[in-house]
Amino acid sequence: MSQNNRESFTLWKPSTQDNGGTWFLGILALVAIAVPTLNQLVPASSAAHLSVFGITLIGKYLCFGMLALAIDLIWGYCGILSLGHAAFFSLGGYAMGMYLMREIGPRGVYGDPILPDFMVFLNWKSLPWFWYGFNHFPFALAMMVVVPALLAFVFGWFAFRSRVTGVYFSIITQALTYAMMLAFFRNDMGFGGNNGFTDFKDILGFDLHSDRTRVVLLVITAIALGGAYLACRAIVESRAGRVMHAIRDAESRTRFLGYPVESFKVWIFVFSAVVAGIAGALYVPQIGIINPGEFAPINSIEAVIWVAVGGRGTLYGAIAGAVLVNYAKTYLTGAFPEVWLFALGALFVLVTLFLPRGIIGLVQTRSKER
């Protein structure tokens, strides 16, 4: 064999020209530095001052970016299209909400030291068993991860074992999130019915209405998003990531090579659900409310559109898509409230027709042409 091949012996991987991930981490770091600076150091009278409203918006975008990241991991890399990921997001949010409700303590409207207001209102005499422990933050923190993971595991186990794939899988994930929504709407479920949880006072003793707490929450969200991105990237760049590609492109061939396809899918689905759950948990204290509307099927579909718009299969593209679409949503629902849904639908159709690889795909093609 020729000398050339021997020389490239260790060079088994083509060098990737894609530095979008570095750009993304850089921008994220910039946000994490700029937000505290503009809020805390710039005086409120200055035009450059960032209000709590602005922080809340940015925090919301980052949480949605994390949800989009979770979806891209399974959809862009493993071909699993979940149209129910908002369910995991909401469960993480509810776990955080339960902690925040217990944290209110006797400061509620009815002044009950243990029971949250809605339980007093419903004439409940004692705390339901599943509310135990949520007054301890570490326990609540564990639940934000465990509950979405458990649901994803049970659901994924049955769905993937039964070889439910493609559009059928997407449909039952819609049914899942819809069923969760109906359940959480019921008052006797013990999660506040259609009002959900709100009126939070503080988190770990820090006042949720103070700018400083909100800035810290935003920085934590940015760090969590960066960490989740790096974890997802580590997975897709490992051999497991290549097996995921293989499953996406030729599932039965992968099985024939001896890979336990179902167990790969379950693991990756559970991991994705955990990322979505953490995103939801970070979302609730910043937005200040969680209610069953978060489980609405439309939310999951919107999240999939963010990923498609940004460009699936790149991870950072999904995050960019979430931020851009939500920015457009903030703007349009303010300026022309009635056109938002049409704009969203049109965006999805146009992206599907003309930008199969999303905005990131467009940027990559442009930079290659230069």
Binding site: S2, L257, W267
Partner: protein
């Protein structure tokens, strides 16, 4: 030679589908390192025979033995792959959006569980094995090419390479040159001949000139059993073979 020294021996294997005997008391043996070609008209039972060996179809009677002591009829499909029988299907299915190198990496024997593949690294011997197979299948210069841009013939070779990664003792190859250009056929014939010796190779093929170019021994299947066996010249002059093929 007794049955013990054979790589693979099928004896009196019968498979019937609703009364139709796809295999009828088929008896066939493959020596270690031998290249055997199987030819026969459509419906002769060639694919069914492959299915029996790989555990996809269970025979109604007969025995299938691998090496001196492995009863293939007691093993599941993945177990049969694990004892060293690799099968290449007619239609090549390589992973289109992975590179040639990555295709071979995934075919490496060993690591299969999710948590292990998360941390898996290619060891030096594995790297060497991949390089070796890249050379055997002649795709060293395409190692970074995505599966989808390979030519049809190259996909077939890559698929054979993926089988080789698992170091099978017996390779079953179904119609390897269907749809290939003459140059590709030439190259495939070289490739398969180079594999015989280290591996036993069983090739099912319609292309007579290709069979002539690779096989020392040919078996003709008809209506589920072997009607002639031997070198190409002997088989082609066998009156029964002429009758079956030409309908005389």
């Amino acid at each position: 030679m007794s049955a013990r020294d054979k790589r693979l021996s099928l004896e009196d294997v019968t498979v019937s589908f609703d009364g139709f005997k796809a295999l009828n008391a088929l008896t066939l043996a493959v020596d270690p390192g031998e290249m055997l070609c199987i030819i026969g008209p459509n419906g002769a039972g060639k694919t069914t025979m492959m299915d029996v060996i790989t555990g996809k179809t269970r025979p109604h009677s007969g025995t299938a033995q691998f090496g001196s002591d492995i009863d293939l009829l007691k093993l599941s499909e993945p177990e049969i792959v694990a004892v060293g029988i690799g099968r290449k299907f007619q239609k090549p299915t390589v992973f289109e959006r992975l590179t040639v190198f990555e295709n071979l990496e995934l075919a490496l024997a060993g690591t299969r569980s999710f948590l292990k593949t998360l941390r898996a690294r290619i060891s030096a011997p594995q790297q060497e094995r991949i390089e070796e197979v890249l050379e055997i299948i002649g795709l060293s210069n395409q190692r970074f090419s995505l599966g989808k841009i390979l030519a049809h013939g190259q996909k077939q070779w890559l698929e054979i390479g993926m089988l080789l990664m698992q170091n099978p003792e017996l390779l079953l190859v179904d119609e390897p040159v269907a749809g290939m250009t003459p140059q590709e056929i030439e190259r495939t014939s070289e490739l398969l001949r180079s594999l015989a010796g280290d591996h036993s190779v069983v090739v099912v093929e319609h292309d007579m000139s290709f069979v002539r170019s690779i096989a020392k021994r040919v078996a003709v299947l008809h209506e589920g059993h072997v009607i002639a066996e031997g070198d190409m010249d002997k088989v082609q002059n066998d009156p029964r073979v002429i009758e079956v093929y030409l309908g005389v």
